[in-house]
Symmetry: C2
Subunit: 190 residues, 2 copies
């Protein structure tokens, strides 16, 4: 985010950062505006309401994160074993979250707190992300049953999504944490 970005982009970036940092309940339009170098009413030139702004952040976070993961997995050769594809996806997800992408971290932080009807709409976009993981788990463990794989997927995503809340730059790198998370889950799941 820099001064030459359009007002709309600066608002979105600032909102993602605030949502990721403070959560939905504590996110103030005035603070989002300040981060974008303007005052609160100016936001309404770009977005119809606070809810609409939040929804845009969620959709962008889900879309970018899914695209990043899929790209990292699909670059692997067609002979790559399913477990390796799953490993690549886990590492891509954690590295994306810890790389400082505020949009994906905002989704991880705020998704559960979204108001009812917005949640339904965001959930529709989230299904692409969720189904991709589902397919990776099915491929990696074809002998398992759906119920257990669903539980494993929920546990895995919660585990990975938590990283931005406790990670602090320093001793361990994002890559190290991503690899540890992948080892932990794959050893446990397979």
């Amino acid at each position: 985010m820099n001064n030459t970005d359009s007002g709309r982009k600066r608002i979105l970036d600032s909102a993602a950062f605030i949502l990721r940092t403070k959560g939905l309940g504590a996110a103030r339009l005035s603070e989002i505006a300040q981060g974008a170098g303007m005052l609160a009413p100016s936001i309404y030139h770009h977005f119809k309401s606070k809810d609409e702004l939040v929804e845009h952040v969620m959709l962008a976070g889900i879309y970018n994160n899914t695209r990043h993961i899929v790209a990292k997995v699909e670059v692997l050769g067609p002979e790559t074993p399913p477990a390796e594809r799953l490993r690549a996806a886990i590492i891509a997800h954690v590295e994306f979250l810890l790389s400082g992408d505020d949009f994906s971290s905002a989704v991880a932080r705020v998704f559960d707190d979204l108001p009812g009807e917005m949640k339904q709409r965001v959930l529709a976009a989230y299904a692409t992300f969720d189904n991709y993981w589902r397919d990776l788990l099915v491929a990696a463990s074809p002998a398992g049953n759906d119920g257990q794989r669903t539980v494993a997927r929920k546990l895995m995503i919660a585990m990975l999504d938590s990283c931005p809340t406790w990670y602090r730059a320093g001793r361990l790198s994002p890559t190290q944490i991503a690899n540890q998370a992948a080892d932990l889950f794959l050893k446990g799941f397979l």
Copy 2:
């Protein structure tokens, strides 16, 4: 929670349920009061402020949950291997969350969103809980290093704490989910 409980207890129970269900940002005193069979201003006879009420719910949740886990672990004989103690703790934690204890679920749901100074105070109580897990992990994996065990603990707690957000009564029982989570983590960690 029933009609013969004291007003204070009914308020705490209702607050725990609302916090667990809607999160901190959407928790309204009017709704908490309604769940306790009274109107919002009556809450102030029992609590000084909304924040004080929330803090009591957090402290009760942490205290009860910790006590429950410790009891389930310490009942095991002194010859019990550390890995089995850790397994018992994981199962106890998940079963407690999924048994319908609104206080521990409220902590899992709302902890990250607490306002600054309250978070510090709640964190002091949370340390007892967190340190107990730390010691269980150290005992179960004495060869590991602190950094990796800390990451493993954070990942594990996030994974277990997520259960109330996605669990729905039906196909799988709390005990089945608890056992699957324990298998997943122990196989991955050890």
